[in-house]
Symmetry: C2
Subunit: 901 residues, 2 copies
């Protein structure tokens, strides 16, 4: 490695800057940036992410170059601070922190107060003139180092923390009720007892030399990149495992040297609502981890103005500087040591979907960023938060009037959620898997809880503020969260909450209003989101909903930018109408088989299946014709002038028949045929691999009368609505085409039907005939297929199944492990596998357009509503994506972001 | 159309030649060629196959250009023959025959004596001075035209032929026992009665104008390209449906003008045995169709020398000229009219596999053709005929001594076959479908019977000679056939054969020796083919078997020419040994799962599947390890220095468990676990689409201990046989790889096992680790996969299933129709679908070799033994094909042919 390994910052100048996140991690890059723009940052240095990668490749060894660069940087810090690392008289103390490219709050490890030993402690005592403080720092350091670096920690859920055990004994011995009551002597004893215990449990002595401590800490931080919770976090957030983390080694500053010290976290804007106001929390006489970990409930930042007005003003200036400099909402950490402000971190702040949209839109209004930048800032999935149900306010009021309000806390994650109470993360996961809705209730949450938080409808904590772990993660996951409800008496052992004289037990229903910060007894009924209330139900006026206003403004910008059209997958008029209100520009996939199930239609379908002759099938199909026609009329009316792509019958016929003997017997009776005959038919239709069986256009090839009936229904409906004045555009889509001749045969039938209907009705109408491209062979021979197709629509569900040889129904046995083992970085059924499926799509597009340069091509698989897949569709030149109605806004935004590149 | 539509031949010069088969069809091209080399061909002209294609595209209409060219050509014939078409005094009569690119004997229609009507008949009578002959020609013409052009024929199997009905009545009326006893008057009446009947049944009068007759006949011949039997024949023989047929219009010559006339068929060499001798048959006073149709049993050609020595000598000279000129065995038709010889057709003769090889090899010896040409001439599949079982001669002699010989006939299709007697083609098809072996017994066969002939083990007829339909088709299909057993009294009505006072009923067993022409009562035991007797069983010396000599010589030539290596798919030492004797150069696919079923192994496999822990699985696998090792030792010993590719476990685990409750209960008892637990396991392993499920390397990814055990077994075995002095070359193959990381993970396990075994045993050995490419994604990302692979082997069975989205198990519901409808020209599971699957293979080869230019690539799907697929594998640059042991010679020859291009 010949690159620079260590980047220094301090004294108003830094080697790095904010753009170097890949190399320095987010924290390191921003420490450099803040140093460069003159903010008060304690000096230090950053070891690059490249070193982390090397560290794993070399199985934990460092290069000599690294040791040299670290020692040089350390020297520069010593000079600036006028102190010496390991010096008994004037010791320099350091913090060692992780810092990945993308923020992973609390997932990796940190060591504070590094550099203390039995010699340097004397210097710290002398410098601070506070023996108790010094020994408190020392015992915290030993505890942290013992845990993080030397692996001394509880083994399993039932084990007691060995440090806490010793600490509690000590308190008893000294008759102390609170930690702060322990004298310096006790803390000194703790240091020694901790070290003895560590040596026993770790089989290794606690390192006394500060430089050994430093290298141990650096290694531990690197290693923490691959701890369980970090891996889980990355999985949930699609962060690649090979990025690695940087390590930041920085001069310690102390927020816990007395009441003129403190530490806190601030946001340049409100991360829950997005409002442009100073938002944050602080604790006096505390170290930074105390705020984030949620152990003590911190105070709102505005109160600092009373405690230390000068510091508050300086801090408020800093927040304005940061917001303007970064043109982005910042989440920053600071420490006040003896009334002097130090900035320890800044980064783009996690925010709710609400806040994300509000901040983006308002920054445009403030002239800070462009519309395009605003679009770049909002993650398409965040729009879903605007579409969450809200409580019915009347019902909520009634419940609260009846005494249903259990507690109030911080509105840490907006939204409405009801669920059954569980008290730990594994239960949350298990109950959710069983289909239950759960509210995860914790005294405070920790990084270990994230899988459970993800599984829960909402999160409720008794401790911790807006910047506590629970609040932070909930915000990021978009979960409903009420945090810091101090009045709740939560007992894990009894699995209950005692509050207001009531007992809420595990499994009881509660409701959280995360927007207001309220906890209500029982399950509350919900209403659609404000956006839906405006758009769909028209029970709220646009001007009465700022939420809708923001949504609408953003969507307008997105529509101006995007090239991809957005259609919807819908097969009912009401679905179609909703999709249009959400901005759908057509139907990309109308499945006709769903129409075969309703009411007595299934009887006719079964009659058709059971017919042995073409005549018999045609007779049964004739009964279906008027019903299918009615279906299409409804859909055409809902969609108006927008194109409607209708797929001919796709599923294997056995899906329309019962499978167990009892149901077969019943149906045989209904249909007045023998049980044996029906059973034989069911068996003859059963398949080894139905996904690869007698379905799709194969049905229409063997039974052309089915396609003929469906085409006739489509065109009869089209003629009828055309007469009503609707400029209808049906597009008939033939599924599962692998060979151009399949399409040719089916197309002939469709065209014949269209001509017949035109003749019969005297109405002329436009229509297209195209195909779903959902088999590898369809892609590979797209140049041939295109000769018979007026459009292509990629069916990426089936294309993924065939290309990967992976049945979606059966992949559960191995696919989760595959994603965990990083064989596929994402579930290929969720996001398009670009290297495999995506390559076939590219081949399909290219070959198709060699024959017809203007061939209209879309996608109607479920990937059509997934942002990274939408981006890919844009890149390979598709004309449209199609997704379920509620995904349409997401797809519109994703399409705009794709167009911005 | 601006091309020439009509090609004239006659008077020693022709517009066309033998190379123009695509345009003129085989018959037309060879009539031109024979004319050009001075053989006596009656003049005429050929309408091209392009006209046929146009005819179908224009729905049966002709262009004015065609009418013009036909009329011109007709004029030239009239000039040469000095007669006029439609002339009442000197009428020219024509024949109209089909003629496709590839011979389709008897499948399409023919009209003779065209040009006769109530006027021209007078001219014919005058010219021949034979009223009876003239009216016989006339009534034959009316009958043929009525049937072929006007569609008057029996409707359904039970209908009586309307012409025969009238004919039989007429015979009764005239008290005639034989046809020849009817006087001219009666024949004249028949003409008139036929015409009346035709007008009634066809609703249209019989055309009197010769030119109308001509166009009707031309259209009928074109249309006959798409009659049922022609379509069936093309399906069986892989002849594309879009080739079309030419039409040959030629001056009539008559073999039925008296005893100085005749007609016959000749072969330049013996088509059954391949011997270089004049072979053929003739009938005096007969029309050509009489010989081919098998209605009268013709006489051996050598007898003609006695009847007409001069004509015989001329004909024998013609046969030598043809054999030498074409450098290929010819099958020709001739007519003798008043002692003058006319050649009506020549074409490459159909022959048995025996004959094909013998002729090819002997023509090389005679200096007529090169070795390469000989290789080109033999179809790889024909080799199978040399590998057919033969009767145990001792047993056959004993049976015959006991009076078991029922009859003797012509040895029309060599080989030995036993089966149950059936009397019609539909029964043959049905019985064969039910798994029965059948012998199709017919008085004579007709083109309608070909599906039944194909389904039967052997064919036995009472009438017809070596060139009859039965003999011809049987020869071509490679069926065992005894023809013309005149002593058999076959009754379709009673479904029995009466012979030698015995009654053989439907369902009784008989045996046919097609090499000797014998029919024996009962089922005879068979022995392996001579080739196997020499190669494998060593019970016959090579020098005692000319058959083996020919086989061996051809194989030697093939091996000298081919570039592709040929391996075998085998998982038992005995299979492996047989394959080596057949020339296999390694094992391309050794499936390990078969080894999991034998004896008590399945118990250990089940124990592994039912273990919930890795330890439990490892314990069970440890039991399998020594058994797997023994398997591999046996295979390595059998294969010696040749490479052996071993595939790790592939099938879904549920294949190792029972599925119905009874068996589950039994197994639960055996394994001492609860029924419920076992049932739950079986259910949890069951899959919607097992083909796309938890199988292949997915098993080894989730349960790495399985791969580890298998790799250990492979390498322990390798070390052991290496110690024994065998230069072993194991190649471990990972199945169902879609992503390079799958291969990487599995490869690491295999390499680790190899290193361990080397260390434990102190034996060093070479080995490779590679992958099966059987998923589209494997092909598409082959450049990545190649980074972890030392070889690729295409698994085209699964690749076809996934690329086409077609389950082999389920395709029965539509694939036969697909092939019939020409959607796929051949079953893609039989021959590689080049456009789809083949393109993916090409991509895989190209991408793989961008990374490793010398990457070894083979194929181990069942396509590896199919000639056209072998050709494709050669074309895209594979290194080897692998197939079942008995297909190895076929693959060797196919590989040689591919190399010849």
């Amino acid at each position: 490695m010949t690159n620079k390994l260590v980047y220094f910052f301090g004294g108003g100048k830094a080697d790095g800057n904010a753009k170097m996140k890949e190399l320095l991690g987010g924290k390191g890059a921003n420490l450099a940036e803040m140093t460069n723009i003159g903010l008060p940052v304690p000096p230090g240095f950053t070891i690059t992410t490249e070193v982390c990668t090397e560290y794993f490749q070399n199985r934990g060894k460092y290069s000599p170059e690294l040791e040299e660069e670290v020692s040089e940087a350390l020297k520069r810090v010593e000079e600036l601070m006028n102190a010496k690392f390991g010096d008994a008289e004037n010791p320099l103390l350091m913090s060692v922190r992780s810092g990945a490219r993308s923020s992973m709050p609390g997932m990796m490890d940190t060591i504070l107060n590094l550099g203390l030993n039995d010699d340097t402690i004397q210097g710290l005592i002398a410098k601070t003139d506070d023996e108790r403080f010094a020994y408190d720092a020392y015992r915290r350091f030993v505890q942290m180092y013992g845990d993080v670096v030397m692996g001394v920690r509880p083994e399993g859920v039932d084990d007691i923390d060995p440090f806490e055990e010793i600490f509690d004994k000590k308190k008893k011995a000294y008759g102390a009720k609170y930690d702060v009551e322990l004298p310096a002597k006790a803390l000194k004893e703790l240091v020694s007892e901790y070290k003895t215990m560590i040596a026993e449990r770790a089989g290794q002595k606690f390192p006394e030399k500060p430089i050994d401590q430093l290298w141990g800490a650096i290694g531990a931080v690197f290693s923490s990149w691959n701890n369980d919770r970090a891996i889980a976090y990355r999985e949930l957030n699609n962060i690649p495992g090979d990025w690695g983390t940087a390590v930041n080694v920085q001069t310690m500053v102390f927020g816990n040297m007395g009441e003129d010290c403190g530490t806190g976290v601030g946001f340049t804007r409100n991360p829950a609502t997005g409002e442009n106001e100073f938002y944050g929390e602080y604790l006096l006489n505390a170290q930074g981890e105390d705020v984030v970990a949620g152990i003590r409930t911190p105070r709102p930042i505005m109160e600092l103005e009373k405690d230390m007005p000068e510091v508050f003003n300086e801090l408020n200036d800093v927040r304005k500087t940061l917001d303007k400099h970064y043109r982005e909402m910042q989440d920053f950490e600071f420490t006040i040591q003896k009334r002097k402000l130090y900035m320890l971190q800044t980064r783009a702040g996690k925010r709710t979907g609400f806040a994300s949209i509000r901040i983006a839109v308002e920054m445009v209004r403030e002239g800070l960023i462009s519309k395009e930048e605003a679009l770049r800032r909002v993650e398409p999935e965040q729009l879903n938060q605007l579409l969450r149900p809200v409580f019915n306010l009347k019902e909520k009021k009634r419940r609260m009037d009846e005494g249903g309000l259990l507690a109030e806390g911080l509105n840490a994650g907006p939204g409405a959620a009801s669920g059954q109470v569980v008290f730990n993360a594994p239960d949350a996961v298990k109950w959710a898997k069983d289909g239950k809705k759960v509210i995860l209730v914790r005294i405070e949450t920790s990084p270990e809880d994230i899988r459970g938080m993800n599984a829960a409808e909402g999160i409720l904590t008794a401790r911790g503020g807006m910047t506590s772990h629970a609040a932070l993660v909930a915000r990021q996951m978009g979960k409903v969260c009420v945090a810091g409800c101090g009045t709740l008496d939560i007992s894990y052992a009894k699995r209950q909450i005692a509050v207001k004289g009531k007992i809420i037990k595990e499994g009881d229903w509660i409701s959280l209003d995360g927007t207001e910060g309220q906890v209500i007894e029982g399950a509350l009924v919900t209403l659609p989101s404000e956006v839906e209330q405006v758009l769909i139900h028209k029970i709220l006026k646009p001007e009465d909903s700022p939420v809708f206003g923001l949504f609408n403004e953003l969507m307008t910008w997105a529509d101006a930018v995007r090239r991809l059209k957005v259609r919807t997958n819908a097969d009912q008029p009401d679905q179609a109408s909703v999709a249009v209100l959400f901005g759908a520009e057509g139907i990309g996939l109308c499945r006709t088989e769903h129409m075969f199930f309703g009411g007595n239609r299934i009887d006719a379908v079964r009659e058709m299946i059971l017919s042995d002759t073409k005549e018999g099938r045609e007779k049964a199909l004739a009964k279906l014709l008027p019903m299918q026609k009615e279906d299409f009329i409804g859909i055409f009316q809902a969609m108006g002038h927008r194109p409607v792509t209708i797929r001919t019958l796709d599923p294997p016929l056995h899906e329309f028949l019962p499978h167990d003997d009892e149901q077969i017997a019943e149906l045989a009776k209904d249909m007045v045929i023998s049980f044996d005959k029906l059973k034989a038919k069911v068996e003859s239709l059963s398949e080894m691999n139905p996904m690869l069986g007698f379905r799709g256009c194969r049905l229409g090839i063997i039974f052309p009368e089915i396609t003929a009936m469906q085409a006739k229904a489509v065109f009869s409906a089209a003629a009828e609505v055309k007469k009503q004045g609707v400029d209808v555009h049906p597009e008939v889509m033939i599924p599962l085409v692998g060979h151009v001749k399949e399409l040719k045969l089916q197309r002939e039938i469709v065209i014949k039907a269209a001509e017949e209907v035109k003749k019969e009705t005297g109405v002329d109408f436009d229509y297209l005939v195209g195909t779903m491209i959902e088999l590898p062979r369809g892609c590979l021979t797209a140049d041939q297929v295109a000769q018979e197709a007026e459009f292509f629509s990629f069916g990426t569900n089936d294309l993924t199944q065939t290309t990967l040889g992976m049945s979606r129904d059966d992949a559960g046995k191995f696919l989760p492990d595959y994603v965990r083992e990083k064989i596929y970085s994402r579930d290929p059924f969720a996001a398009i596998d670009r290297e495999g499926v995506g390559l076939l799509m590219k081949i399909g597009v290219e070959k198709g357009r060699t024959v017809k340069p203007d061939l209209k091509i879309g996608i109607c698989g479920e990937h059509g509503g997934e942002p990274s897949s939408v981006e890919f569709c844009h890149q390979i030149g598709l004309d449209y994506v199609s997704c379920s109605p509620y995904r349409v806004p997401v797809a519109r935004l994703a399409a705009a972001k794709a167009a911005l590149g």
